[in-house]
């Protein structure tokens, strides 16, 4: 038993490790977290998948053996205790009991015996009487000895549950892997090219595999993830997905995930059609098919692509599909677009303090832009403008590595809720040919500038110069120039003058853009101020966007893929059987109290010796003993 308890303690500690250290993460994450040395050590110890490591399995097996031995050794003893009345107890041993009393016998032996037997019966005791050689008689009674089964039930239950668990584990694969027959596949290759050594046949007794089916496709293999690789599990039938649906509550949160499945099997006369959903799996040929998750199944996408640094406002169309690739630009500067994910609904909490209600902000797409050296930047862009602090923006995020947070470019919408206002403004701000005109307009409208042509010229030149600098890198470029050319004391004054001038220029530029498109012009008010401030910020931020291309999602044709989990667990019924036994065992161990009573009738002394015992002494027993003693006293005297 001590051995079993130590094993259980080790299991407990190992389990804690398994919960604290996130299991089954991609191995790169562990390397980043622990560094190469610790990563290797932990990998050797199997800490990334504690519950499937060899040592964990060995402990489980030891536990099964040791518990079985316990039951084997103590079981017969328990059954003996359960059956026996202990009717061979001697008077001497009864006298040594801590709970005993002696009463005088007032009636005859037989009457007393009858009374006592009735008493025992009323109290739910079973009894047996033995006549002693000296003419005395011992009534030995027992109640609640079923408690002894509690021991057998609980311990057998442990063994059965553990065996069931091992049955559903990956023991066969482990053995084959050790013998060198099987190995995991770590390369991302098409399923058909996965070698035989990494495939599990349909006769594999137990597995837990995953399958991703795009709508309108079918498959007859699933994937089992093992450590940093996978195995291909062949299925004895084909699963086809007709349709996948997500329903939403009015608040936008998902309400249900459903897949319309078709099972195609030569053994079947007609294919089985069934809709599965979370909590409602389909069971066929001992394999349960669960709705586990969903992802994109290759949604078709149409973009408008803006070259942020080109002084024109003509976007280029671009078409693609999730999991597909495309190209932007030409020659050495060409970038490959990898479309990674499309999400139709995004429930985000946009309130500034995080206390508001989350709501749906509409579709977004995640993609990567990879240069010819293989360096990639990840982007996420939302199709519809988002409301932030009461104003609406087109939002696109970028990050260099997966560990980084996305940094967002927020482009203010124009009066028609479109991005064109900003794009036109941007084009003019980048177009050096337009600067003299902007400068002229400012000079004309500005009251500070006198009529002296030389002064006007000088002013206009400085505006053009400022705009040229601003077009090279936004505010930060201006800041750099100031830092380089202006003495420290004057910097603040100069900076605020420049900012003011850029603002005024932006106003003119924005209006020029609007005029060129025959749109109503901006008027000078607070709303315009905010729009210009946001536009200038976006203009400055786009130099940090990582690439010149801004992809705006125009249209999509949604195609989803359902994530299915397929499991075969022959151990399940054993585990359930064990669980039932466990509950029975626990209840009988704790709520059935074994008590024994001996009543020794001694006709010679005209006395009755009453002794009571329990294998567990507690308050209830004390009380019961006292009650019985009083009742017996009343009965006999």
């Amino acid at each position: 038993m001590r051995f079993a308890v130590s094993l259980l303690s080790i299991l407990g500690i190992a389990s804690v490790v398994g919960t604290v250290l996130k299991q089954n993460e991609p191995y790169e994450n562990y390397i980043i977290k622990f560094g190469q040395f610790w990563f290797g050590l932990f990998e050797q110890l199997g800490l990334y998948d504690v519950y499937h490591s060899s040592w964990f399995l060995v402990i489980l097996l030891f536990l099964i053996v040791s518990t079985s031995l316990c039951v084997y050794r103590n079981g017969p003893l328990m059954i003996k205790e359960w059956r026996t009345f202990k009717e061979h107890a001697s008077e001497k041993s009864l006298n040594a009991f801590s709970h005993q009393a002696t009463f005088d016998m007032t009636s005859g032996l037989n009457v007393t015996k009858q009374q006592l037997m009735q008493f025992l019966q009323a109290k739910g005791f079973q009894y047996k009487s033995v006549v002693h050689a000296d003419g005395g008689e011992l009534i030995a009674a027992k109640a609640g000895t079923h408690q002894r089964w509690g021991y057998i039930f609980t311990h057998t239950a442990m063994v059965i549950i553990l065996l069931g668990g091992v049955l559903d584990g990956n023991l066969p694969f482990k053995v084959q892997e050790m013998l060198g027959h099987k190995r995991i596949e770590t390369l991302d290759i098409p399923e058909s090219q996965v070698p035989e050594a990494s495939r599990l046949s349909t006769s594999n007794p137990s597995f837990r595999a995953n399958m991703t089916l795009p709508e309108g496709t079918s498959d007859h293999v699933a994937f089992v993830r093992v450590r940093d690789g996978y195995l291909v599990q062949e299925l004895p039938f084909t699963v086809a997905l007709k349709d996948f649906r997500i329903e939403h509550y009015a608040t936008g949160q998902p309400k249900s995930f459903e897949s319309d499945l078709v099972i195609i099997d030569p053994d079947l006369k007609e294919p089985i059609t069934k809709t599965i959903s979370v909590n409602h799996p389909l069971l066929y040929k001992g394999i349960a098919i669960y709705q586990s998750d969903f992802q994109d199944g290759g949604t078709a996408l149409d973009f408008n692509v803006w070259n942020l640094f080109a002084p024109d406002n003509q976007p280029q169309p671009l078409a693609g599909a999730i999991f597909g690739k495309g190209t932007l630009g030409e020659g050495d500067d060409a970038l490959t677009v990898e479309y990674n994910d499309f999400r139709k609904f995004n429930i985000i909490n946009m309130s500034p303090d995080g206390k508001g209600k989350p709501h749906n902000v509409g579709p977004n797409i995640t993609y990567k832009l990879r240069d010819n050296k293989g360096q990639a930047i990840e982007y996420v862009t939302y199709m519809q403008p988002m409301q932030i602090d009461g104003k609406h923006y087109f939002v696109a995020g970028m990050r260099q590595t997966v560990q980084d947070e996305f940094r967002y470019l927020r482009i203010p919408i124009d009066d028609e809720l479109s991005i064109n206002g900003f794009m036109n403004f941007r084009a003019i701000m980048l177009d050096a040919a337009k600067y003299p005109e902007i400068a002229r307009k400012i000079a004309r409208n500005s009251l500070d500038v006198g009529k002296d042509p030389a002064v006007v010229k000088q002013f206009e030149n400085s505006v053009v110069q400022l705009l040229t600098i601003f077009a090279q890198g936004g505010y930060s470029q201006v800041a750099q120039i100031i830092e380089k050319n202006v003495p420290e004391k004057e910097r603040e004054v100069v900076a605020s003058t420049y900012i003011k001038m850029v603002r005024v220029a932006a106003y003119e530029a924005y209006n020029m853009g609007l005029a060129a498109n025959k749109k109503p012009l901006l008027v000078s008010d607070a709303k315009t101020e905010a729009l210009l401030r946001d536009s200038l910020n976006s203009f400055s931020d786009m130099f940090f966007y990582g690439s010149p291309y801004f992809l705006q999602l125009e249209q999509f044709e949604h195609k989803e893929a359902s994530g299915l989990q397929l499991t075969k667990s022959p151990g399940q019924k054993w585990v359930y059987l064990g669980s039932v036994l466990l509950v029975l065992g626990i209840f009988s161990m704790m709520y059935i109290r074994e008590r024994r009573i001996w009543l020794l009738l001694k006709p010679d002394a005209n006395q009755v010796l009453f002794a009571m015992a329990s294998n567990r002494k507690n308050l209830d027993f004390e009380q019961e003993f006292n009650v019985y003693r009083e009742q017996l006293k009343g009965l006999l005297t």
Binding site: V5, L8, L11, G12, S15, V16, G18, T19, V20, K22, Q23, V50, Y51, Q118, F119, A122, K123, G165, D168, R208, Y249, A250, T251, Q253, P254, K255, S256, F257, S277, V278, N279, H280, P281, A288, Y290, S292, K355, Q565, L566, T567, S569, Q572, V575, Y576, S579, L582, V583, I586, F587, M589, M590, Y591, R616, N618, L619, D620, Q631, G634, L635
Partner: protein
């Protein structure tokens, strides 16, 4: 004395029942039949089973423990009254006087909080003054708190359907709701033992843990607006929730009760308050009984959880952090019971262990949600 029925004869449960008991069962059964005729089309076969099963269970519990039957009837009456005041409009929760200040789900839960705080103060005062009457007041306050708490949950159940029929669900689906449930179950378990073992002196101790939960509820309500009813995520839309969660909270509640009794035991053992607290034997016995109840229910809850997982997550055991910690809690108390029952261990060591067990239990209940991620992420803070 009749020789056919000597005075030691014990009556069976059915023989002990009087007409009030039968009336009580009849009222429950009538309620269940009413619910069935009205809502059968929204229930699956299991839920119909639970409905009538609950009738049987609560009849039995009420027969065994009369005060509980009064509570059950009280909850039913007040809840029905409150629901009628709504007249099918959620907005009336803040318009009708009685609802706004007393028995809308939110107000009732607030009253529960207030009454639990008062009850604790009164219990301590009774302990300090050795006043039996004050103790009775404290007991009454605790009973009222559970009445309000259950009414709050019942009305919340109804309110959730007012938001939208597809949003409606039993209010044991997130951390806020189960905290209320925890307070109620712990209080009820305590009241049961208080009556059986006459241990009013322990009320202050037990209500410490209940009021810790009350504090959490208040923080969660005012800081996070957690009292707002949220629709169920797909994984929780199952009849299993209706049995798995309550079973689990009987476990948590009983373990917490045991830990609080253990703290009283340790104090009394050191001579602190020893003259005011019950005998060490009684404390020890109470601690054992409550851990035994907790362990039995926790076992059942874990098994039910495994069965649910086999339907929802693709396997009865996934080594999800919550599952794993449930196993650790289970092993912990299994060891405790083993030592006491098989080895006959007693005394302060077990009391310390029960107290530390509360830390393990709390981590399994709360810590896992706060620090670890996994499949059980419904209750995240």
């Amino acid at each position: 004395m009749n020789s056919n029925s000597p005075d030691y004869q014990q009556k069976t449960l059915l023989q002990r029942l009087n007409w009030q008991d039968w009336l009580y069962a009849l009222v429950l059964a009538a309620g269940a039949v009413f619910a069935y005729t009205r809502y059968a089309q929204y229930m699956d076969i299991y839920e119909v089973g639970f409905l009538f099963g609950a009738t049987a269970v609560f009849s039995y519990l009420g027969w065994q423990w009369k005060r509980l039957s009064i509570l059950v009837l009280g909850i039913g009456a007040v809840s029905v009254f409150s629901i009628n005041l709504y007249q099918g409009e959620q907005a009336r929760a803040t318009q009708v006087f009685l609802l706004k200040y007393l028995i809308s789900s939110q107000s009732a839960i607030m009253w529960m909080n207030v009454l639990f705080v008062l009850a604790m103060a009164t219990y301590w005062f009774a302990l300090y003054k050795r006043s039996e009457f004050t103790g009775k007041v404290a007991t009454a306050l605790t009973w009222s708190a559970t009445l309000f708490g259950f009414v709050g949950l019942m009305v919340r159940w109804y309110e959730s359907y007012l938001i939208a029929p597809d949003v409606g669900h039993i209010p044991i689906s997130n951390l806020y709701e189960v905290f209320v449930l925890f307070c109620l179950i712990t209080a009820l378990l305590y009241l049961h033992y208080e009556q059986r073992l006459n241990t009013k002196q322990l009320g202050g101790f037990v209500l410490l843990v209940v009021n810790a939960a009350v504090g959490f509820i208040l923080w969660y309500t005012f800081d996070r607006q957690a009292h707002n009813i949220q629709p169920l995520v797909p994984a929780l839309q199952s009849y299993w929730m209706k049995i798995h969660v309550p079973a689990n909270f009987v476990g948590y509640g009983a373990f917490s009760l045991a830990a609080m009794v253990a703290s009283a035991y340790l104090l009394a053992n050191k001579g602190v308050l020893a003259s005011r607290l019950p005998e060490l034997d009684v404390l020890d016995d109470l601690m054992y009984k409550s851990i035994a109840v907790g362990f039995a229910f926790f076992t059942i809850a874990t098994i039910l959880g495994a069965m649910w997982a086999a339907e929802a997550w693709g396997g009865y055991w996934s080594w999800d952090p919550k599952e794993t910690w449930a196993l650790i809690v289970w092993l912990n108390y299994a060891a405790w019971l083993h030592l006491r029952m098989v080895k006959g261990f007693r005394g302060p060591v077990l009391a310390w262990w029960a107290l530390i067990g509360l830390i393990v239990t709390t981590f399994a209940f709360l810590g896992v949600n706060m620090f670890l991620s996994g499949l059980h992420s419904y209750g995240t803070l």
